[in-house]
Amino acid sequence: MLSRRLGLLTFAAGLFAFSSITFAADTIKVGVTVAQSPPGSVSQGTQVKDGVEVAAKIINDAGGVDGKKIELIVEDTQGIPEKARAAVEKLITRDQVVAIVGEHQSSAALAGIEVAHRYHVPYINTNGWSDVIREKGYPEVFNPGNYNSRVAIAVADTMKSLGAKNVVAFCENTDYGVGLAKLIGAQIAERTQGISYKYETLDRASKDYLPAILPLKANPPDVIVEILLPPGAYILLNQLNEQGVAPTAKTMIYDASGIADYPDFWQNVGDAAKNMLVFGLYHPKMPMPELGKKVAADYTAKVKADPNRLLFQAADSLFLVAEAIKAAKSTKADDMIKALEGMKWSGTRGEVSFSNEKSGFKYHQWLDVPYVTFQITAVKQPVADMKLVQDPGKALDLSRVEKTK
């Protein structure tokens, strides 16, 4: 009797396993790790998720990848490293995904890549800016998004163009925030002369930043560089304004985190963002390839909102996985990695290729991520109306910059 039961059980398990294999063969599973609940940046997570879904629909509507549809499996990381680690582990071991995309917070990406590296599964880092992600030198990790060194160079060059002498940065206490603040200091020292720079680390969870702001009242800097994600960034801007430290005729604000296109930006920041300079990875006036226009149109139709930078980064991440499978004609990790290393592909933001220089931040990084600088010239201004003061690949045009009166 017992052996008969065992036999039935074995048969059922075999049937289940067979059906799983059959199902898996019909689709290509791609894991998506995003923050869908606090304390992670859910604003970012939602934009990334939407971007990946738009890209998946475009791929699937066009017949999929070699006849197989892309199946997305989304895991919520809450922006917490240990949850990100568990999410990647689950996606790889239980869901058998062929690649991971979507991570948008450096701390979570740093945890996730450890697991992807251990299981040797391709990991497309959508928006983790920390250079440390690249410096790990993991062959599985590819970076089509922005990186801290690029922002640091942009900030240093902008400070030089503005003629700033005294610069203070406020950064969040994360790998991304502190890493970028340090890099900005290094780039200012390397690329400019006579600029005094210091940074102050703020706790993302804390809400009262006044003790860090008040000492600036006696000797306000020329520029305050903001390196925080919302809602901390919004609170900082409001408290700077409340104390009359910035924006003023003396002190400008430079947003190094690119928060001006967040959907909740204007609800949370009013006058406090007036004349703020913004490091921008997307502006409607930037030149855009056909694929970018298609993604933007589909996104607007889907969520009834204007496109944002994370949409394109997220879409590119999934497109890259699809292109790698097509080029490799395989979903094996080694084949996909080889394909990605040699890839030259026209994405939503330009021609993407990865550096194979195995040193520092350049490893597996798309070095030419396009960026601009734009300025907010009116309260509640849509991104399309924000004034471009630096075109892609050009220097900041000081004559276009408006000063606070």
Binding site: S37, P38, V42, D208, P211, K217, P231, N238
Partner: protein, 296 residues
């Protein structure tokens, strides 16, 4: 000038801490348990105020009492549904009552955060200002009109609550239950009713604190986590269950964080309270106004 700025900021923040911590202290005083969902009452108040004012177009001055009522009602419902088992079988609960309270309030905290995250959304909402003046300058001091008014309202609420507890009929009964629940019960005091009032009042205080700070700290679903942690520290520093102790500890912590953030390091600002907590636990475990435990 900086010293004055820091002092004012510390006092204002201390007042907001006090508003938050009094409720927690009252709950501990009467139920002898820690409410881990206290921060979520704060969050509910912040959202009630913000959403009523922004989406329903209600005046912020009207939205404020609505937020208070939302907190009072939530406190009442939670007490009836979740906390009542704690003392309905008071004599037979023994050790389990602590575990029960921790698990129930912790689960409630996670539940409320996720409900708001899914229903309202994850985005930050800056609450409307009670007074539309972005900056009031008094000599060297600059303060937003809202922050000033909110601090005044907070002080008024604290004074009213202190007077109610000190002099009102139910306030005295709460004091009695806090001192000796069994004794109060034997003297004819309805301890269940006193507990319900305290839990409801604590919810209301946290909610109005959240509402007053909604313009300054832009609420998100997890906005209550951080002030709740501060409140736990304050309640221990002030003496578990002592309302005056909580008020004084709040002011001390607010001022200490303000000055320490500048003269020691802003990075370690949030550790000052914890450092103070360790010192108190070592040298004065009963807190500022707490009594040493006596068992017969």
């Amino acid at each position: 000038m900086l010293t004055l700025d820091l002092l004012i900021n510390g006092l204002v923040i201390g007042v907001f801490y006090a508003l938050m911590a009094i409720g927690l202290s009252l709950i501990f005083g009467i139920l002898k348990v820690v409410n881990f969902a206290h921060g979520e009452f704060y969050m509910v108040g912040a959202y009630a105020y913000t959403l009523l004012a922004l989406m329903a177009g209600v005046s912020p001055w009207l939205a404020l009492p609505f937020a208070l009522i939302a907190g009072l009602l939530l406190g009442l419902v939670v007490e009836r549904l979740l906390m009542r088992p704690l003392y309905s079988g008071y004599t037979s609960w023994g050790v389990m009552r602590d575990e029960y309270a921790v698990i129930v309030t912790f689960a409630l905290s996670i539940f409320l955060i996720n409900v708001v995250d899914k229903v309202v959304g994850p985005y930050a909402y800056k609450g409307p200002a009670l007074i539309d003046i972005s900056r009031i300058t008094i000599g060297p001091i600059a303060i937003s009109g809202h922050r000033l008014i909110a601090a005044i309202v907070a002080i008024a609420v604290i004074v009213i609550v202190a007077l109610i507890i000190r002099y009102s009929f139910w306030g005295r009964q709460i004091q009695a239950v806090s001192q000796n629940r069994l004794g109060a019960s034997l003297a004819g005091i309805d301890t269940a009713k006193a507990s319900a009032i305290v839990f409801s009042l604590a919810g209301g205080l946290a909610a109005i604190s959240g509402a007053l700070l909604a313009n300054i700290f832009n609420p998100t679903p997890d906005v209550g986590v951080f002030p709740a942690i501060k409140s736990y520290v304050i309640v221990v520093l002030g003496g578990m269950g002592s309302v005056p102790g909580s008020i004084i500890a709040s002011i001390i912590l607010g001022v200490l964080e303000s000055f320490g953030g500048v003269y020691i390091s802003y990075q370690y600002r949030d550790t000052f309270g914890l450092f103070l907590l360790i010192l108190f636990l070592l040298f004065r475990p009963q807190g500022l106004f707490g009594e040493k435990a006596r068992e017969v």
